[in-house]
């Protein structure tokens, strides 16, 4: 759309990022009557789903197995039916507070129209996450051509039609790495093996089964890539089995290859939030939020993979919807303001984190708690206590570090209380 340089752009809700979280947020905010703007730096909305051509998306949302582009397309169609200003090829360059905290925020954006200023009552941050790169893992040797993150390889193959290598080694067993092992094989490359430093794959079982086992690609657990060989182009990698962080002597081998694909973790992308300095959670690496996905900065909401790395897009959309709706209510002063109090949630026992980190009380209905365990376990008992009193208990089977779990917490258990501390603990049971 054409930006008017004379008039300051003004919105109730500005969504930053047009992936699954941002699209859902913009739709939900618009449905609540808010004037909504969505900022997207790429040419088309849809985010990373555009390159995820495999199926398995939307089982919870649409009760169908969709591919990534299909899932994104459905949301883009929905968005297109609403009066939302979608600004593509637009970069957000700065965020500042605009007057007092309830007046909202002042943004600077850059696109083909030049530099513009945008005033917004609320912000929904939906920037997604980034892949860890070869500079963030310790591998000896040079960094010649032929080293890609799994997402880069996916972009090259699925969107641009280039094969990044003919003989590949994959480091890390995240889901995108597993999926790329299959894609590379189908497109005619040979995948020499997948090396994972941990004792179990970090991706889903389904992907281990259908992306590695189906093609006979060897998975080497407790193993890693020690060194990249080659100066101009990757020529080989040195691999080894690891024990207590040290390579086991007679397992050190050289694997000839022309590319190394990395699938070594995802980090929520929140650099844009730095100027506002919201409270962050060092485990999720996203901001701390309450059940409305509101951060510690009034009127700033966070959702999707920018909030924490999800394994299902359905949950990403759901958090976007919650954030978008809450932002619209906040912008029209219907959110209940600053009444009541906040309870703090903490994760304990075999839990790496729990989300949301805060609950605004009093409130009605149920809140989905999302959590991840540190260590896989055949059985675990989740106990939620409020000020020492048990308010919810549930036993879980076959907990996997790779799989996020979810449990609904009915807020009526907090009757009469507007705060306090809530401990969420996963303990071993009956073993």
């Amino acid at each position: 759309m054409q930006l008017n340089q004379e008039k300051q752009l003004q919105y109730d809700v500005t969504v930053v990022g047009g992936g699954p979280a941002g699209m859902a947020a913009a739709i939900a905010a618009s449905d609540e009557g808010a004037r909504v703007c969505l900022l997207e730096r790429e040419e088309k909305i849809g985010g990373i789903l555009k390159q995820c051509i495999h199926d398995g998306f939307g089982v919870l949302r649409f009760s169908e197995q969709l591919t990534g582009p299909e899932y994104a397309w459905r949301y883009a169609q929905e968005l297109g039916r609403r009066p939302v200003d979608v600004l593509t090829r637009t970069f957000l360059t700065s965020i500042e507070k605009n007057g007092s905290s309830r007046d909202g925020y002042l943004l600077k954006i850059v696109n083909s129209q030049g530099l513009s200023r945008l005033e917004t009552r609320t912000l929904v941050m939906a920037m997604g996450c980034r892949e860890r790169t070869d500079r963030q893992v310790f591998i000896h040797g040079e960094r010649p051509a032929g080293i890609f993150t799994a997402g880069q390889a996916q972009d090259l193959i699925n969107l641009k039609g280039y094969l990044p290598g003919k003989r590949c080694v994959i480091l890390g067993s995240g889901d995108i790495g597993l999926i790329m092992a299959q894609r590379l094989t189908l497109e005619g490359a040979s995948v020499e093996g997948l090396y994972e430093i941990g004792s179990e794959p970090s991706g889903l079982n389904r992907n281990v089964s259908q992306c590695l086992e189906d093609y006979g690609i060897p998975l080497h657990l407790n193993s890693t890539v020690l060194e990249v060989q080659g100066r101009k182009r990757v020529e080989a990698v040195t691999v080894a089995r690891m024990e207590r962080g040290i390579p086991v002597q007679d397992t050190v081998r050289t694997v000839p290859c022309d590319s190394l694909i990395l699938s070594v973790g995802l980090i929520p992308e929140n650099e844009m939030l730095q100027s506002l300095a919201p409270q962050m959670d060092e485990r999720t690496r996203g901001p701390r939020v309450n059940q409305y996905m509101e951060t510690s900065c009034p009127g700033v909401f966070s959702c999707g993979n920018a909030l924490h790395v999800n394994d299902l897009v359905d949950y990403v959309s759901q958090s976007g919807e919650t954030a978008g709706r809450a932002a619209a209510l906040y912008a029209s002063n219907r959110s209940g303001g600053d009444r009541g109090g906040e309870a703090e949630l903490t994760a304990a026992g075999n839990l790496s984190y729990v989300l949301p980190q805060k609950l605004r009380l009093p409130a009605e209905g149920a809140v989905p708690l999302f959590f991840r365990v540190n260590k896989s376990a055949p059985r675990g008992k989740l106990t939620v206590t409020h000020e020492g009193t048990v308010i919810l208990e549930k036993t879980f089977r076959w907990l996997k570090a790779a799989e996020m779990e979810r449990l609904d917490l009915d807020l009526s258990v907090f009757s009469g209380s507007n705060g306090g501390s809530v401990a969420v603990r996963m303990s071993e049971e009956g073993s």
């Binding site: 040419e43 555009k50 051509i53 495999h54 199926d55 197995q65 969709l66 591919t67 990534g68 582009p69 299909e70 397309w73 193959i157 699925n158 969107l159 641009k160 039609g161 189908l186 497109e187 079982n205 389904r206 281990v208 089964s209 259908q210 086992e213 189906d214 055949p378 089977r397 076959w398 907990l399 996997k400 799989e403």
Partner: protein, 125 residues
């Protein structure tokens, strides 16, 4: 039906049991080992008869903005025929506008299996 032993990870639940599929003598039903529940047994038996999967990939286009169009097969097909299907997919060129769900080729490589677009392709006149 499988003709040699296969070791697979069960995907019926997050537990991920290791299943052994052992071929039966002369066309009789395969023996499944390592399952811990009826769902696992059923999954193993299905995999022993024929491993069917949905194949997704991309096809060439003539568009500079969108050089590849994502596609899928409408039905699960035997895993051991993926290579053939990939060759067919790689020889297809998308020359017309389409949107997700549109059938690009009917009876594609197998009766009842269609090649479907999963993305939107729009040529500028």
């Amino acid at each position: 039906m499988i003709t040699e032993q296969k070791n697979i990870t069960c995907i019926a639940c997050p537990r991920g049991c290791r299943l052994e599929l052992i071929p039966g003598a002369e066309g009789s039903e395969a023996q499944i080992r390592g399952y811990e529940c009826p769902k696992g047994l059923a999954y193993g038996q299905r995999e022993a008869v024929e491993a069917l999967r949905i194949l997704t990939s991309t096809v060439k286009t003539c568009s500079a903005e969108m050089p590849r169009l994502p596609v899928r097969l409408s039905e699960p097909v035997p895993l051991d025929r993926f290579r053939e299907f990939m060759d067919l997919i790689n020889s297809f060129l998308a020359v017309e506008d389409c949107k997700p769900g549109d059938v690009l080729v009917r009876d594609f490589g197998m009766p009842g299996v269609n090649l479907q677009a999963t993305g939107e392709l729009h040529y500028e006149n």
